[in-house]
Amino acid sequence: MRSSRRLVAALAVAVVAWAGSGCAVIPVGGPFPVDEAGGGDPMSKPFQRMIAVPPQPAWAPIQVVQGLQAAMAAYADEPGVLSTYLTPAAAKTWRPDGPITVIANRPKYDYVGKSDGDQVVIRLTGTPVARIEADDTYMPYSAAVGDISVDFTLVKDAQGGYHVQSVERGAGLLLTMDDVARAYRPTKLYFLAGPPGPSRLFAERRLVVDRVWLRVKPTENFAQTIVRRLLDGPSKALHGAVGSVFPQGMSVRSVRSDDDRVVVDLHGPIAPDDLYTDGLKAQLKWTLNNNDMANGRTIEVQLDGEPFYSSDPLVIRADDMREDWLGSNVSPAYYVSRGAVRSLGDDRPGNAVQGPAGQPNELYSRLAMSDGGAMVAARGTPAAGGGIWVTRVAPDGRWQRWIQGRQEDLTPPSWHRDGTLWTYDRANDTVLRCDPASGRGPERVAAPGLDGLDVTRLRVSRDGVRVAVTVGKNEVRVGAITGGGGAPMLGNFQTLITVTDEEIRDIAWRDGERLLVLVQSKNAQSVREIYVGDGQSTELPATNKRLESISALGQRLLAATEGRKGILEFNQDKQGWVSKVGEGDAANPIFSLG
């Protein structure tokens, strides 16, 4: 009796326990602390790619050319398919190297002559958009360039299918914009300002953006592609103007996501003990973070799969390197009222600066302010005798003429962040540079790329690496200051924008990589923001007032209206212009540098 009662009690306990725990498959309750999973794997971005198929015997000649074009788009992934479109002789001579030509989507295909027979010629006509160079630079074509056409000669083979015998343009791949959008990603690489070389004399910690278009490789994650490209060094536009801590011959073994950190595994002749570690950290940190790869996670650098230093790992934490490697984007704004430089407060006009620059006068125009606002430079009016004048912003400062010359011969002065003053002497076709530290007068700077050009403006970028010039009224070119501090020169000039039927009124650097261009057409004005790396351009909303000059820093953009009718500021949130200083002889908004 007793044992059976005990059995019943045990059964009851078991049933209650099962009902309490077992029957609820997923228990309810909480809150519990959650283990952070690290936010997935941002190392590889999703992408789609063209799959090239070999030509079918039943295809019409136009389809064969379309297929060839698809095979060109897939060439980097599947190089074998492209040659199936070519006759054996053409396959032998075909060289798909060199720059890639990007044309607009849906090019036109026309028969030149008969559309049937043993030999057919098809003409492809399309709008050229850009060129992707071998160094991954994306060079947009100006709108002025007309359509390009390429003739494909096709022959019929024994089976009745068509094959491409020759391509009129010769070598080079031809991709549509869709092909590029599918396979390429604009990428920012970060290099150290200052000339490359073993001296590693990086006076100031500063990174420079190099914008390239990288092809997504299916076999490796995109972060690895980016780091590999970073190790290859800067593109042509910055060649000689920037440096990298990575010596030649470095390669990346892998970049992988490891829980809460990104592990970059390098290989090559790098000496961990004799290395500018902060430079390496900065280059990797901003390159991986600003391309959405590290996303603020800790980065660990390894060498051949082992800790970077023989005993310790090299770790770049998210809160490391808070210093301003990209330059400050916060700086007070100024404007000129009746010749006097006044600060621009948030709502109302501010006070005049100290010293002679703050005094009203009619002698100086197109003022520029040095880094930190310590010096002001201006172009002297004919009343002042022309030339470039400079004064310290201090009670005891006074105007001094640093550069001689007529007003119309000298472009408005531009400060370099190292304290030198730059201008272009149109009378002598030469770039002038004044270094107050050297105590010498203005010295000529070689600029072979500007020889014989009508340079109307010269602006040194805030990172001190790039230089933007306007040529005539229709063209902006961007170059770089190469050659280092000792004997600087300007080089690597490339056309950024060419306008037709329009006039470039002013240019201003927003930061290291974006240039604002004020364009005036016959009855409208626009401010275009252009990435100097790849020419990507955005047009800001226009205002009904006519603008004369612009100045920008970071998110802020100021413009002076024509006829000194006030200063406007562009409001990012409202995407519109807001008046900052009303009527009253306000002109020439100024941010330091740029």
Binding site: F47, Q48, Q63, Q66, L68, A73, R106, M177, D178, R182
Partner: protein
């Protein structure tokens, strides 16, 4: 030849090694079998282990199979629905193609011109703000240039051939509503290890032109990982469960076996004569009742044995008393009979014959009475040895001399086989002589006139005398019965030499008193042999006998018949005889 020798040597060595291994294995198996036979606990634990392993394996396989099925089925179902949604999206996008084509080519950075690109951007998440999908997609249209797309690293090479052929067959039969599924290990380009992948292939019916093949590649790594974890968990839990059950069985069996073992030990001690042995009784369960019953049984048994012993004592006393009491009248009767016998010649022949008969039977009666007294002395434990160091050969010769008269009457001859050296032993001369006389009388009586062989043997520890006759022999099983009191091989046969039927019983008691053995061998038609073995030193334990119990000629004949390797048993080695004692 040396090589042959060495080879044979090696072969022999190998054979020896194998033999050694086999022996050892056999020994181990034997030990295990013995342990199994002897231990109830081991049997219970082993049975529990076997049954629980079977149950756990069956349950584990079933469980694992169920989980596998449900996990794979659910992932297949979700994969199929995702693939279906994507196909619908692609089909919808492709059917809009004519409208879009009407628009002029857009050179800005807006949506792609090709609807396939746009829909692929949506599906693969490669557009703006897209997130990575867990699967890859391949859209294949080999008939139209530039109309094939893939996401990630998949390529047409990765599509399993059978799946592709299946879709081609469907396209040929114009069936577009049956997507196919294929699970395969696929090694994608740039990867070193193949991955288990579920590929779902479907067709998008052609609006114009050729149909699109859409393949979805779903990685099954996570499912595989999860299922292998589950399987591992099941194996570990099952293993633990089996161990736990074995431990439980061990404990439970121990609870039952320990009292049983105690009971067995008590029973063994009881059997060994310790009649006071009792079990402890704890509680009221079955085992306690077993202990109670055992104790009752032991008590009753002890009582019965005690009663029997008393009865036996009474009987022995009775025999002894009767023998004593009979002696006095018998002496008187004997004296009277002697007178009659001496005067028998004066009687009529009839009366004279009666006097002779009476004399003979009286002699027999006397000797029987003497034997009875002797045996009752043994039963009372009153027999003692009068030890003396004697040459056994002399004792044998004396006994033969005593028997010679009878032998002559039976025309039997003795054949003596005596060793040359003296066979000294500490014995009671009178008793051993009596034993030998009894054996010789017995041999003469049953020897049917044939020769009686008397053999004396000796070794370091013992001396032995064997008496062999060639008479009718003994039947199987009679070897021990011959030593019983008043036993007769053939009850119908008369005692010709007036044996009392107690001679061999007394002889055996005498031998035992010496610490020796008296054993018999016999075979029908082959005669019989009795062997007396005595230790050289009185009281020393015997380990063997210098003579064989079975006569050597019989042993030889037996081995020859059995076609065995003829090995002569050494005179000292006699295993069978020893174990009988």
């Amino acid at each position: 030849m040396p090589p042959t020798t060495s080879r044979s040597l090696r072969r022999r060595t190998l054979r020896q090694i194998l033999g050694g291994v086999r022996r050892r294995a056999r020994r181990a198996v034997g030990a295990v079998r013995r342990a199994w036979r002897r231990s109830l606990q081991l049997q219970v634990v082993t049975s529990t282990l076997v049954i629980s392993v079977t149950v756990v394996v069956v349950l584990g396989v079933f469980l694992s199979d169920q989980i596998n099925k449900s996990v794979i089925a659910s992932s297949q179902a979700s994969a199929a629905s995702e693939a279906f949604a994507d196909r619908v999206q692609i089909a919808a996008a492709l059917s809009q193609e004519p409208d879009d084509q009407a628009k002029p080519a857009d050179t800005g950075k807006s949506a792609p011109a090709d609807p396939l690109d746009a829909v692929m951007n949506t599906i693969t998440g490669s557009g703006e703000n897209g997130s990575k999908k867990r699967y890859e997609v391949l859209v294949l249209n080999t008939a139209t240039p530039g109309s094939s797309r893939a996401s990630g690293k998949v390529s047409p090479r990765d599509v399993p051939l059978a799946l592709r052929q299946g879709l081609e067959r469907q396209a040929k039969n114009l069936r577009y509503d049956k997507p196919l599924r294929h699970q395969a290990l696929i090694r994608f380009s740039g990867e070193t290890q193949p991955r288990l992948t579920l590929v779902i292939g479907g067709l998008i019916p052609p609006d114009a032109g050729a149909s699109y093949e859409v393949y979805h590649f779903f990685p099954l790594n996570d499912e595989e990982q999860m299922l292998s974890n589950v399987r591992l968990a099941i194996v570990v839990v099952g293993f633990g469960l089996v161990l736990l059950l074995a431990a439980i069985a061990y404990l439970v069996a121990r609870q039952v076996v320990t009292p049983v073992r105690l009971a067995r030990q008590a029973a063994e001690r009881l059997a060994a004569g310790k009649l006071d042995e009792r079990l402890k009784v704890r509680g009221e369960d079955d085992l306690a009742r077993l202990a109670t019953s055992f104790n009752e049984m032991a008590g009753n048994l002890a009582l019965k044995i005690h009663q029997l012993e008393e009865l036996s004592q009474v009987q022995r006393q009775f025999v002894s008393d009767v023998s004593h009491e009979l002696r006095t009248p018998l002496t008187t009767v004997r004296m009277a009979a002697d007178l009659l016998y001496d005067a028998r010649e004066d009687f009529e022949p009839m009366a004279a014959r009666s006097a002779e008969l009476m004399q003979a039977q009286l002699e027999r009666f006397e000797s029987m009475l003497a034997d009875l007294l002797e045996i009752s002395r043994y039963d009372a434990g009153a027999a003692t040895l009068d030890l003396d160091s004697v040459d056994v050969r002399d004792v044998v010769l004396r006994a033969i001399a005593d028997s010679e008269a009878l032998a002559e009457r039976h025309s039997t001859r003795f054949e003596l086989r005596l060793p040359n050296e003296p066979c000294m032993a500490e014995i009671d001369n009178r008793r051993v002589e009596r034993i030998l006389r009894n054996l010789l009388f017995n041999a003469i009586e049953h020897g049917e006139g044939r020769d009686v062989v008397v053999t004396v043997g000796a070794d370091r520890d013992a001396v032995a005398v064997a008496v062999r006759d060639h008479g009718i022999g003994l039947k199987a099983g009679e070897e021990t019965m011959v030593f019983d009191r008043f036993w007769r091989a053939d009850p119908s046969r008369a005692r010709t030499i007036g044996g009392t039927g107690l001679g061999l019983a007394i002889s055996r008691e005498d031998a035992t008193l010496h610490g020796g053995w008296l054993q018999a061998w016999g075979q029908a038609g082959e005669g019989s042999q009795f062997r007396l073995t005595l230790p050289r030193t009185a009281g020393a334990d015997l380990k063997g006998s210098p003579l064989s119990l079975v006569p050597p000629e019989i042993e030889m004949r037996r081995t020859w018949r059995g076609q065995m390797t003829p090995v002569l048993l050494p005179a000292s080695g006699d295993g069978a005889g020893h174990e009988e004692l």
